[in-house]
């Protein structure tokens, strides 16, 4: 309708400085004119005449233009100020907030990774794969041969220091150097036991080396119970399949009854001896004494780790024994062999106590207690089977008393961990409480673990795509600039057309990040804290100083970006409306977050079952899947909202100019990616705690899929033809909506992060405030577990009295 076009153009000409308002008012007037013309046409007037009549009824164009301008002048001025404010502040604010959050996330992540690294492997290069793939970080890898020896060692000490720890070869070397030294032989036999007998695995293979070493050990030390115990454990675990479940009523599956019986007999023989001497703790202590503290590891942590690693071998023995024998005793009782069952339990109890009297704090004490409790619980069941209810109740009481001691041990560990940094204490808590049989502590520990893992995954998810998007936008801009597109669309940094500058910018991010890491973060993280407060002060200084530096840099960059925007004169929608914004947030943020919360709380989650080292990879997978679902919905909803806003004043976006991430090829690509990830997720599901939860290849494939989809989406967005409504669409998306969405996401991330930290502290606090800590001060590493040993000496005396066994010399 050319008459209307000219008239409306004349009427709204003074509103041109505010293109959005001009479009809005023009469309409003047009609908009125059309209605009037239609009514006139319906009254019998011809089309041209009815349009002329509509224009005439509307009034003089010049007069109306002035009136409209006057009526909207105040609004236009306000909107101009808002637009200017948005141009000048929104982008810098977004960059500032982004950099702040990213820096905080990076520091948090770096601290967690570094301390996790120190606590579990201190092999910095391997930490990320270990975290992501959930591989096991056993205590036996803590004192490794690559830790350099101290200077000024004697020849013997040097020989000792140079041996690789925890290997058959090192055992052989020690025995070859000194064949009659009992502790070297014990160490060698233990190494054979673990590396060749392969305890607990199906198809275990006894080797002649091991049998010979056992025989030789018995010759060297006839009174040492170690060789009988090792032989018996190997026989038992190779002739029976021990279920993982911790209950005592699940039957053992005995594959070789003869071998099993010989194993049980061996245990009885072992129980008759005075003591068990493994020397492993002494050897490890010696070994760590001749080595330096690894670089970057706090002395306190090193002490703790050495203590932790000392008893790894004994832990394994007790672990296997205490799972098989009480079960077997219960089975015997069921068959009426009460006396035999009690005799067997007596023997295992005695073995536990033998280990207990020489244990100091840490994993050994915990394992001894766990084993002892299982034995006592087994005895209660056997006595119940025999109808001796009083005795059964006494056994149950004894088990409860030992359970209190066990709690105290874990409590002491946690409190000891608290003396370190917050992160290491958390991680020590996590590590120290694995497979701990107390439901309250397990629940709280798992909650803390979940928070740590989610926070770390969140940091990764925040860091990776934003940095990736920055690099991609620069690269794609280079491509678009090289094609000299002239459709009015000018992406970021397009003025930097010369390749060296673009390359410099791309390189600047990792280079600056690397410099900050190596010059500031890494040395400070390696700082050995004198006290907990000292470490907190360092952390605080880091958290304040680093973001300020980065933020200053980001403001400079943002100012440059803003200036570029200010120079452009293209229509921009100011705001899509609160309802539309709420809808975007509901479907793209709140709904996926709620769904994930339900998944974490209601459905069985492996993390809650098996703990952090087993589940972190899966959790990262969860977050990746969530981000692609949420990200796709976010794009879709945002684009839909802008399209609707444009349609309000008659700006229709053709399908080929409109970005619809859930439709067409994009939608298919997204569905394929989500399905592929889900398939990988299900296919790699291995609900067995001893296996790696997520094969590296599947995680890499999932990451590649997510990255590929993101790249494809970004690419398609940049390739959209852009003129008229499409230009306004993209302008609005990039300038108005994107900053708001990013700020929202980051704010939501910060809230989630804070909530997780709070949950974590609350969970740890709940453990700390438990009312069972009779050994609180005594059972610490510093006192060397004296109270615990004394407790077991008392048990030992009692056992001897009951069994009329002589006191040891």
């Amino acid at each position: 309708m050319p008459q209307f076009d000219d008239y409306i153009s004349a009427v709204t000409r003074r509103l041109r400085p505010d293109a959005e308002l001009q479009m809005d008012i023009a469309h409003e007037l047009r609908t009125h004119l059309e209605d009037t013309a239609e009514a006139a046409h319906a009254g019998g007037m011809d089309e041209d005449a009815s349009q002329s009549e509509a224009v005439r009824a509307f009034g003089d164009a010049d007069e109306l233009a002035d009136k409209l301008f006057e009526a909207n002048r105040r609004r236009m001025r306000l909107r101009a100020v808002l637009k200017w404010a948005a141009r000048v502040t929104l982008m810098p604010a977004v960059l500032l907030v982004t950099m702040l959050v990213l820096t905080l996330a990076a520091v948090d992540l770096a601290t967690t990774l570094a301390l996790y690294d120190h606590a579990f492997s201190y092999s910095r290069r391997s930490i990320l794969p270990r975290l992501l793939w959930g591989s096991h970080c056993p205590a036996d890898s803590l004192i490794e041969s690559h830790t350099p020896p101290r200077s000024g060692l004697t020849e013997d000490e040097l020989f000792f220091a140079e041996q690789e720890d925890w290997s058959v070869e090192s055992g052989e070397a020690l025995v070859a150097r000194s064949p009659t030294t009992p502790r070297y032989h014990a160490y060698y036999t233990l190494m054979l036991y673990f590396h060749e007998v392969d305890v607990g695995q199906e198809g275990a293979d006894w080797t002649s080396h091991f049998q010979a070493a056992i025989a030789r050990g018995k010759e060297l030390e006839p009174e040492n119970a170690l060789y009988d115990i090792l032989e018996a454990t190997a026989l038992i675990s190779s002739s029976a399949t021990v279920p993982y479940e911790s209950d005592l009523v699940t039957d053992l599956e005995i594959t070789d009854r003869d071998a099993f019986a010989r194993g049980i007999a061996g245990l009885r023989r072992a129980a008759q001896k005075d003591a068990v001497r493994t020397y492993a703790g002494d050897l490890r202590q010696e070994r760590s004494n001749v080595r330096r503290t690894p670089d970057g590891l706090a002395e306190q942590t090193w002490t703790l780790l050495r203590a932790y690693g000392r008893y790894a071998s004994e832990v394994m023995i007790l672990y296997h024994l205490s799972r098989a024998t009480p079960r077997y005793a219960v089975t015997l009782a069921g068959e009426g062999e009460i006396a035999e069952a009690l005799e067997l339990l007596d023997a295992v109890e005695r073995i536990c106590i033998m280990f207990g009297v020489q244990s100091d704090m840490g994993v050994m004490s915990r394992t001894v207690q766990q084993s002892l409790i299982r034995v006592l619980a087994g005895r209660a069941l056997v006595l119940e089977e025999a109808g001796r209810t009083d005795a059964a109740a006494a056994a149950r009481e004894a088990a409860a008393a030992e359970h209190a001691t066990l709690r105290a041990i874990v409590q002491a560990w946690i409190r000891h961990g608290d003396q370190f940094t917050t992160h290491s204490s958390k991680l020590l808590l996590i590590f120290g409480s694995q497979r701990f049989d107390d439901p309250v502590l397990i629940a709280e520990t798992r909650r803390a673990e979940l928070s740590v893992a989610l926070r770390t995954a969140l940091s990764l998810v925040l860091l990776a795509p934003l940095l990736g998007a920055l690099v991609l936008s620069v690269l794609s801009t280079r491509y678009l600039a090289s094609r000299r597109r002239s459709d009015g669309w000018t992406p970021f940094f397009s003025s930097w057309r010369r390749p060296p500058r673009a390359v410099l910018w791309v390189l600047a991010v990792p280079v600056v990040g690397g410099l900050i890491w190596f010059c500031v973060l890494a040395p400070l993280l390696e700082f050995s804290p004198i006290s907990r407060h000292g470490w907190q002060a360092v952390q605080l200084a880091l958290l304040i100083s680093v973001p300020i530096g980065i933020a200053a840099l980001s403001v400079l960059v943002a100012a440059r970006v803003s200036l570029r925007y200010a120079q452009e004169d293209r229509a921009l929608l100011l705001f899509i409306g609160w309802k539309r914004l709420a809808r975007i947030m509901l479907w793209s943020v709140a709904a996926p977050a709620a769904a994930y919360a339900v998944w974490l709380c209601v459905l069985p989650n492996p993390l809650l079952q098996y703990g952090l080292p087993h589940s972190f990879g899966r959790l990262a997978f969860d977050v990746a899947l969530l981000s692609i679902v949420s990200g796709g919905t976010l794009l879709h909803q945002a684009c839909r909202a802008i399209r609707e806003r444009l349609a309000d004043f008659g700006e229709e976006l053709p399908a080929d100019r409109y970005f619809r991430p859930l439709h067409g090829r994009w939608g298919v690509a997204r569905t394929v990616v989500v399905l592929a990830i889900a398939t990988l997720y299900i296919a790699t599901w291995t609900p067995t705690p001893d296996l790696t939860v997520l094969p590296p290849a599947s995680l890499a494939a999932a990451g590649a899929l997510v990255a590929g989809w993101s790249l494809y989406t970004l690419w398609q967005f940049l390739r959209l033809r852009s003129d008229g409504a499409a230009s306004r669409f993209r302008g609005t998306f990039v300038r108005s909506l994107l900053p708001i969405l990013i700020v929202w996401l980051l704010a939501a991330g910060a809230v989630v992060h804070t909530t997780l930290r709070w949950t974590e502290r609350r969970a740890i606090g709940a453990i700390n405030q438990s009312d069972y800590r009779p050994f609180e001060d005594e059972l610490s590493l510093d006192s060397g577990g004296a109270a615990f040993r004394e407790h077991h000496r008392e048990l030992d005396r009692r056992w001897r009295e009951e069994h009329q066994a002589p006191e040891p010399e």
Binding site: V11, D24, I25, H27, E28, L29, T31, H32, D35, T36, A57, F58, G59, D60, L64, K67, L68, E70, A71, N72, R74, R75, G577, A647, D648, F649, G650
Partner: protein
Amino acid sequence: MKFDKELTKGSTALIVLQLVQEGETYGYEIVKVVNERTNGRFEWKEGTLYPCLHRMEGAGLLAAHWRDAPTGKKRKYYRITRKGRTELSRRTAEWHEFSTAVDAVLMGAMS
């Protein structure tokens, strides 16, 4: 009968506020209703309604949003705000007082 321009000027806002208060409506409909109720005596230039609507929207007396009309056409609808209602009450009272005063003067002259 054609009213004097100065006479109608002050009443436009009152009329528009009253009509919008009766229910959400758009510009064309307001003009139509006014013409129906006054039998076309106001003879508004239809365009002049819009500056009035925009001024009141700017002042927070009205709120506007785009939505589909029952006919399927997209129209900009106006609804009255709380502030608008207060203003309508004030203006209505003012109008009554004014007209009563004018009537009183005119009646006095007649009697």
